[in-house]
């Protein structure tokens, strides 16, 4: 109203109003008010479901659905299935990171890495060829489960740790990679044992890392939205160490040789199983993906990709394909 009055006064002759200055200042002031943005509803469950209780009790976080059998030739998908819908659409949206050398990083405008190649293998099986079919959507660590759960992406292949509470929100494929959580610190850091972590500021980007730190050390966790934000914080002296998956940390050593990776906690505490996340209710897609993974394990493609992206460029410790549990999850009725 005030702006309209000012404008009318500007146009009318002989008017001594608050003039153009007020119009301009009002425009700037209006934008100083925080613009409200639609918030996405948090999809994380806050109560323990019976499924989760059973999952935690029986250690079922890495138990997925049985692979689809038989897996047809590339481009052949069960009619009427979700994969057929993807064929119709022509593209597969995959949430990935874009700043983790080895797993997924941006190179010359494209995102490339081990996890992107896994996505390409899945796309090849759906479409017959992956060229032009995979749309990589960069995600921050706190988005990777939510955007799979709400269907923004068809799959998230971004070092998502399989946990029982996440099974409430998404379905996971079988394990496709195994990492361990370690510490990244300066080479002249006084941190040499887990006892030295007492009172130290340690950067984390995810809830699973934070939980381990809080339950088993006396370090002070400091959260950052992205993995590279933790590296920046370490380089800028804002934190004393960065606790995360070794699959990330070896890539960071490549970016800053003045750092070192420290293995300070028992492996049974730090083991991290990666699963491909998708929205609930797409069991057939999960079974399809598991069948593709099984094929990659058997024909040597998985090992070749790990060597190409992790072992050779980053000196990551070689590993065999993950061994899946003997049983599978029951398909919901």
């Amino acid at each position: 109203m005030r702006r309209t009055v000012a404008v009318v006064c500007l146009v009318a002759a002989g008017c001594s109003s608050s003039d153009a200055s007020s119009v301009a200042i009002d425009a700037l002031a209006a934008l100083d008010v925080e613009v409200s943005t639609p918030t996405t509803e948090a999809t994380a469950s806050t109560t323990t479901s019976p499924d989760r209780a059973r999952c935690e009790q029986d250690g079922l976080e890495t138990v997925s659905y049985a692979p689809l059998e038989p897996l047809g030739a590339p481009g052949e998908v069960p009619p009427g299935s979700f994969m057929a819908e993807l064929q119709q659409r022509g593209r597969l949206f995959v949430g990935v990171d874009e700043s983790t050398p080895g797993l997924a990083e941006r190179d010359a405008g494209e995102i490339v890495g081990f996890e992107v190649d896994i996505a390409r293998e899945i796309a090849t099986q759906i479409f017959g060829s992956a060229d032009g079919r995979v749309v990589t959507v960069p995600l921050t660590p706190d988005e990777k489960v939510d955007l799979a759960a709400d269907g923004t992406v068809d799959l998230t292949i971004s070092a998502v740790t399989m946990t029982c509470d996440r099974w409430d929100d998404v379905d996971f494929s079988a394990e496709y990679f195994r990492a361990h959580q370690k510490f990244l610190a300066r080479q002249d850091s006084p941190i040499a044992t887990d006892a030295d972590l007492a009172g130290r500021r340690v950067c984390v980007t995810g809830s699973s890392s934070r939980r381990i730190l809080e339950d088993h050390t006396r370090a002070q966790p400091e959260e950052r939205p992205a993995r590279t934000d933790c590296l920046v914080a370490l380089q800028e002296g804002e934190v004393d160490a960065y606790f995360s998956h070794d699959s990330f940390l070896f890539g960071m050593l490549q970016q800053d040789p003045t750092l070192q990776v420290l293995d300070l906690l028992p492996p049974e505490l730090t083991v991290t199983h990666y699963g491909i996340a998708t929205a609930k209710g797409r069991v057939e897609l999960v079974q399809f993906v598991n069948a593709v993974l099984a094929e990659l394990f058997v024909d040597g493609t998985w090992s070749r990709l790990v060597t190409t992206w992790l072992v050779e460029p980053l000196s990551f410790p070689p590993q065999d394909p993950p061994r899946w549990p003997a049983t599978f999850r029951e398909v919901p009725a």
Binding site: R3, T4, A6, V7, L10, V11, S18, D19, A20, S21, S22, V23, A24, I25, D26, A27, L28, A29, A30, L31, D32, V35, S36, T37, P38, R91, F93, E98, S99, T100, P101, E105, R106, D107, A108, G109, E110, V135, V137, P138, L139, T140, E143, L147, A226, T228, D229, L231, V232, Q235, G251, M252, Q254, Q255, D256
Partner: protein, 439 residues
């Protein structure tokens, strides 16, 4: 021979009253000396008031021309430089790892320009309110530049952490540098507005007319008195003083009125469009940054496009938007043509941005980024050029009319001094001969 006692007493009373009247009524020379003193005081008062008003007006015009407007332009230029630096740096982030030719020079030029503008603003004696903003920017600009350099070095080495440094740099610029630049711009805008109000107030002329009118009345009353007491109906000195008083009052009021008109023209044709266009330019740059950041984060942060929508509304809204307001106050063909050009280029910019948006909504980010760094960047640059040209025209007009206002005021102190001397000399010249007659 014999008179009644009542007649004798009446005569005595009459003689006694005459003595009293002669004792109370001033003599003619005393009255003339009193009138001379009043006329001198009145003339000095008129001159003092006129000089004070002229001085205030001159100060306001000087402040507008030499301080307020340069600060306004410098603060807008600072914002443009900062936003330009971030646009260059963040566009490189969207593009390939290999830095496009010229992008580095664009960024360095913008940072250097921002540093120069900060130094100019600091030297110009900013208000206390702006000092904090300038101090913050002076402290944080080197930090921003440092982060961008680290980002660039890491990017050239192919290290993904470079992108994180670029994000940090952009965040620092958006959260700390640009808001403070906006604060200085806002304060400069308010200062310009206050100066124009002071310089175009009619209060001075009203007071001058009142005081001048009173002096003329006193001169006329003096002439009547002199005519009655001395039986000389024409006193050339007093007549001349009256004419000089009328002339000085009218001339001074006319000159002040002309100055006020010139300053009003300066505001209407210069300052008003300048403020509106400068604000538009700042908001356009902000919306370009919103588009870039949204592409950088590939739609995972909704705040950028929400801000884009809010900014577009402020620029384009029919109800008091910046461009419609500028269009409404454009009162000549040159400005109307400039605004039409800006309108057209803004429409092109929005249309291209909608194509980018459509691609981003389809999650076709490579094509969206390609479009944003080519066609959209070209549309934004063309729009910025048009805004820059129109702002320069408005500034030139502001300075021309402010100079005219200043030129009109310059002779005023001399005119007032000479006019006052003339009034005083003529009045005293008219009264002195009459006073001499009573010696």
């Amino acid at each position: 021979m014999l008179r009644s006692a009542g007649v004798i007493e009446a005569g005595a009373q009459e003689r006694e009253g005459s003595v009293v009247r002669r004792a109370l009524a001033p003599s003619t020379p005393a009255a003339l000396r009193g009138a001379a003193a009043i006329l001198v005081v009145g003339t000095v008062a008129l001159a003092a008031i006129a000089l004070d008003i002229a001085d205030d007006r001159l100060a306001a015009v000087d402040h507008i021309a030499d301080e307020a407007t340069p600060l306004l332009v410098d603060s807008e230029s600072l914002y443009v430089a900062l936003a330009g630096a971030d646009a260059a740096a963040s566009t490189a982030f969207l593009e390939a790892r290999i830095e496009p030719h010229g992008r580095r020079e664009e960024y360095l030029g913008s940072v250097a320009h921002a540093a120069r503008e900060l130094a100019d603003i600091s030297r110009s004696g900013v208000t206390v309110a702006a000092t904090d903003a300038v101090t913050t920017m002076t402290e944080r600009l080197p930090r921003y530049a440092g982060l961008v350099e680290v980002a660039r070095t890491n990017r050239l080495l192919g290290h993904p952490v470079g992108d994180a440094y670029q994000r940090h740099a952009s965040r620092l610029l958006r959260d700390e540098l640009l808001p403070n630049a906006t604060t200085v711009f806002e304060l400069a805008t308010r200062d310009v507005h206050a100066s124009y109000r002071s310089g175009t107030s009619t209060r001075g002329e009203s007071i001058l007319l009142l005081v001048g009118g009173v002096l003329v009345l006193v001169l006329v009353a003096t002439q009547v008195f002199v005519a009655v007491r001395t039986r000389r109906f024409l006193n050339l000195g007093l007549l001349g003083a009256t004419a000089a008083a009328v002339g000085l009052t009218v001339l001074t009021t006319t000159l002040l009125g002309a100055q006020r008109d010139a300053l009003s023209d300066s505001q209407r044709r210069g300052s008003d469009p300048l403020v509106l266009l400068a604000t538009t330019r700042i908001l356009v740059l902000r919306s370009v940054a919103d588009v870039n950041l949204d592409l950088v984060e590939q739609g995972t942060e909704t705040e950028h496009m929400a801000d884009f929508a809010a900014v577009t509304a402020e620029i384009d809204s029919v109800e008091g938007g910046l461009l419609p307001t500028t269009r409404a106050i454009a009162d000549d063909d040159t400005m109307r043509t400039s605004v039409e050009t800006i309108d057209g280029r803004y429409a092109d910019f929005l249309a291209t941005q909608e194509r980018v948006r459509a691609l981003a909504d389809e999650k076709d980010y490579p094509t969206a980024i390609e479009l944003a760094t080519t066609e959209l960047a070209v549309a934004a640059a063309a729009l910025d050029d048009a805004l820059d040209a129109a702002t320069t025209t408005a500034r030139r007009r502001l300075e021309q009319h402010a100079a005219a206002a200043e030129d009109g005021l310059r002779p005023l102190p001399l005119v007032i001094a000479l006019g006052a001397l003339l009034i005083g000399a003529a009045a005293l010249g008219g009264l002195w001969p009459r006073l001499k007659e009573y010696r």
